[in-house]
Amino acid sequence: MSDFDLTKAGEAARPMPQLARQGFEVRALKSGLLTGLTWLAALIAAVPLISVMYLLLVKGGSRLFGADFAEVLTGLPPAGFELGGGIGPAIVGTLVMVGIASVISIPIGILAAIYLGVLEPRSRLANTSRFLAKVLTGFPSIMAGVFVYAVLVIHWGYSAWAGGIALAVLMLRTVVLAAEEAIAQVPQRMKDAAYGMGCTRTQVIWKVVLPTGLPGILTGVLLAVAGAAGESAPLLFTALFSNYFISELSEPTASLSILIYNFSGMPFPNQIELAWTASLVLVLIVLMFNILARLIGQPKV
């Protein structure tokens, strides 16, 4: 009896809750405000990229897409007050050094990734190696330059070799980690099926793991190449710079990034214009590899 009364009294005392959404409630307003701020933050974050791209196209494009584009792409860098000139040696130098770095780091990186991903993923060697590859990713890129300076440049002087090896040190970690991730995605069932047919581990890797993981591995490799092409700090005191086309791998070599760095500090408008042009060429090279990586890595349904 008393129980019944109490419930009834409670129901009468408590008003029906307002369950409909209240647009002007403080909570809803706060939520709307924060949503607006997030949109603003996202738009602000896109401004630098748009600004950089716009200026590259306007300032760099005027020379690159102008009448003397052949001279810009193949000519030698101008001296002091000289007009005209180009960035030919730098383009060639960048490509040569990135090539050296790729030849060294890609095979080693993929082999190491095979060890980490397929052969002995849980061994102590694999764990240490994986951890160190991650730590190397956090290393400042200039450290590769300092290292190669200490090992090679002190004895044999500035050269394309030194620059390429410094870039290889940087590419290695990217290739290893990306390739391992791609290899780890290969389903265990496919490997088991191959083992069941009597394949040796090497045959499983060559005939099942690598072909299946290839898109992922290629993506990683291409991103590493893109990164290396844009690097400048490790080249500063390994490849140094040169005003002429590369004729031997054992001499100082020009690169686009160092050309941009050198020319950006010069008081001559011609050089600064060329720095913008070189930036545009560099960004186009880097983005080309990036977009290629994305296209290859896209999951095919």
């Binding site: 939520s31 949503t35 974050a45 950089v52 450290m143 300092v146 200490a150 090497t202 400048s232």
Partner: protein, 324 residues
């Protein structure tokens, strides 16, 4: 009968046990893979060893005074990197404050259903492209776009609020503010990418539970999603900080390479990495040793920060994968 057995081993048959050649190829290939994995360890060790070896004479000569010293004078053979350590930490902290908050805001924007799936993909690609732009290009952009843009504002702030330590000098050209801003832009993609990962790891039912309790979208984000992702967000910030510490070229172009300690946002400063970049190419033997010591200091700082970040990240991954 004999014919049947003969064909089993011949080349015309599809099946057969691995030949001796297969076994040899297998061991050689596995040996190569082992060697490559070992090479990563050896390389890391070799890098440390070489830098230590080259820095050793300077370590002996200057000791800890190198870290507390404030002058870099080749002729007097006085080397100290306190201003550079200060500049490295100060610029990275400023960048972390800006780039970190924007990076996490963007991660929220991308993962918390603000955008259509396809638009979110496009936006993520834009942020990733930001990461692909080389450091020198940002440096160039900073010199010719950012510094002229900042100058009027900096002048006004200095003239109105000159008593405030952050604005105590004028922006003459390169300085801390443009350097930190560019640094913030450069670490934003790192922070955003790792934060997106952290939010993605949260099972969807967590958000559903929050909405079921009647939270608004932002109450769900701030009171449920962010605390749940907090360790991942921390990892994002620490790794972003690590990236900022080691960034070289853009800073060498924008920070002004001045050997001084100042709180002012508009005064030129220097960082360890840009000290290396700007003095190494023309350094003599003694200075190279001192620079190796400076490289070692930078290495130790970034190593500590990165291992810390990796540990937090690992902890986050375990936390969520353990619960599955």
């Amino acid at each position: 009968m004999a014919n049947l057995f003969a064909s089993a081993g011949s080349a015309s048959s599809v099946s057969g046990p691995p030949s001796g050649g297969d076994y040899a190829a297998d061991s050689i290939f596995r040996g190569l893979a082992w060697l490559s994995a070992f090479l990563i360890i050896a390389l890391t060790g070799y890098i440390l060893w070489e830098i230590l070896r080259e820095a050793f004479p300077a370590m002996q000569a200057y000791g800890l005074g190198f870290i507390t010293g404030t002058t870099w004078n080749v002729n007097a053979q006085q080397f100290g990197v306190l201003p550079e350590i200060w500049g490295t930490l100060y610029s990275s902290l400023l960048a972390l404050f800006l780039g970190g908050s924007f990076g996490i805001a963007i991660a929220i924007f991308l993962t918390q259903d603000f955008l259509d799936h396809r638009v979110a993909t496009v936006f993520r690609t834009i942020i990733e492209m930001l990461a692909a732009i080389p450091s020198v290009v940002f440096g160039l952009w900073g010199i010719f776009v950012l510094i002229p843009l900042l100058k009027p504002g900096a002048e006004w702030l200095h003239s109105q609020f000159g008593w405030f330590p952050l604005f105590s000098t004028d922006l003459a050209g390169p300085g801390m503010a443009p350097a930190a801003l560019v640094l913030a832009i450069m670490i934003l993609p790192t922070v955003a990418a790792i934060s997106v990962d952290a939010f993605r790891r949260i099972p969807y039912k967590v958000k559903e539970a929050a909405y079921g309790m009647g939270t608004t979208r932002w109450e769900a984000i701030l009171k449920v999603m962010v605390p749940t992702a907090s360790s991942g967000l921390l990892a994002a910030l620490v790794l972003g900080f690590g990236r900022a510490l080691g960034e070289t070229m853009a800073l060498a172009m924008l920070i002004g390479n001045a050997n001084q300690i100042s709180l002012s946002l508009f005064s030129p400063a220097n960082t360890l990495a840009s000290l290396l970049a700007s003095t190494f190419p023309e350094a003599g033997q003694l200075e190279v040793q001192a620079l190796m010591y400076a490289a070692l200091v930078l290495l130790v700082i970034t190593f500590i920060v990165n291992v810390l970040g990796l540990a937090v990240q690992q902890y986050t991954i375990r936390k969520f994968e353990g619960k599955k």
